[in-house]
């Protein structure tokens, strides 16, 4: 089993006003991953508004999205045999319908070379 971090990116804030249907759809998706026993960590949602970026030279800017169109709205970790399985899971995430995307990154073990 390998662990993969799924990073969810949106250009609009998915946490602002989700409809009950959207909430249900997201919950169904996550439960479906759990039902396959592939959920390692259900992760967290990340705020779009309570956000700061700290830079060298005592510079603090608002939000992560001043320079990029997309911001990270959440993350979770799945456990699968291959990255293809993780891709298949991500492809069913309802975020894709709302113009968002999912980045998949293998979690490296301490002695593992990249």
């Amino acid at each position: 089993m390998k662990e993969f971090l799924l990073i969810f990116r949106n250009s609009t804030n998915p946490h602002a006003n989700p409809s009950p249907e959207q909430m249900q759809e997201r919950m169904n998706w996550m439960a479906s991953v759990a039902a396959q026993n592939k959920l390692a960590d259900k992760g967290n949602r990340l705020s779009a508004t309570q956000a700061k970026t700290v830079k060298p030279g005592n510079v603090v800017t608002d939000g992560p999205y001043t320079e990029i169109k997309e911001f990270i709205s959440g993350y979770m970790i799945v456990k699968t045999e291959t990255i293809e399985e993780a891709i298949a899971i991500a492809q069913e995430n309802p975020i894709l319908k709302d113009g968002g995307n999912v980045e998949i990154r293998a979690v490296l073990q301490p002695n593992e070379k990249n």
């Binding site: 919950m27 996550m30 759990a34 039902a35 396959q36």
Partner: protein, 415 residues
Amino acid sequence: MEEQNTSFHQLLPNLFRLEYTKMTAVIGRHFGLQHIAIAEDIVSETFLIAMNSWAEKGIPENPTAWLYTVAKNKLKDYLKHEKIFNDKVSPVLQAASQSELPEVEFSPENINDSVLAMIFAVCSPINPPSSQIALALQILCGFSITEIAHAFLSNPETIRKRIQRARKQLREDNFEIKTLEKEALISRLAAVHTTIYLLFNEGYLSTSENQVIRQDLCSEAIRLALILTTNNITNTPATNALLALLCYQSSRLQARLNADGELILFDQQDTSLWNQELITQGHHFIINACTGNELSKYHLEAGIAYWHTTIGNKNKWENILSLYNELLLIDYSPITALNRTFAYAKVYGAETSIQEALKLNLSDNYYYHSLLGYLYSENHVQLAISHYQKAKSLTQSPAEIKAIDKEIQALKNLL
């Protein structure tokens, strides 16, 4: 004589179930858990004597009191023998407690306390949870190795070894079961809950070949859970949630069987047979469970069971599905995954749920194929039949086989 024999053969297994653990607990408390085998021997011998004597002379007026008296005498004999041994062979090492023969008291109170003490002793954190449960099922509930294996979806040899290891661990642990310390009680409560939960499921899901539903096991589980509510330390929200769950589930015991002793699926049950008194009790415990912030898996399962007891609510399955969704996030199990998919099918239809079901990939699981059989039967009759046949090959329960045969026959009639 014929008649008496029949009732004798019915009575003894029931009494064994009910009394074996109580007597073992009470006597076991005298010796400490290290010597639990002595208590088990004394109680087993008592039942052996009962079997022979009752077959010959008939059942005594008060069989339970008869058993207690014989067990007491057996214990006295044993202690006398021990005393002689100690007096003659090792007078120096003679334990003070053995200089006087203690009177064993089978009062309801002492039985309650002893069973509680015994439950917590057996569910020692020194053993991994799965071993704690297997051991508890054997010592506290009189389960056979095969039954435990079924409850664990494992094989008997694995369980036998697991129990042997666990017993050895307990002996080395040298845990005293005479007092009930708060810290020990709290740290072991979750393991105790799991044991009771499994015990109930063994009765409720009825894997036994002889009785389709072993109502006494369900009652035993409720009885053990009720013992937990009599103690301030163990009367927690999770304990109450567990009890609510057991009451809600038990309310359908009558409706789950037809006159021929066959299982009736939830959809086809006569709801007028649901036990409203147990449902009301469930309400009582679920309300008690909602004090504080604790949200255990039993809260979620009790919620699911609650919705099952409602009739004609249009959001019923949506609510059940979201509770299953939450449950899966805190506690994955194949059966929860399968049940969640069933609820999904109730909300979104069988056709769209087939993909959800296939993703579970539990191809060795009876319920998995049974579920696929159900989902396919709407539009893919051949596939449905083949999954039901696969399911049939994966179960030994006559009731389950019968139920599946019925489904297969109905599907074949459609072809």
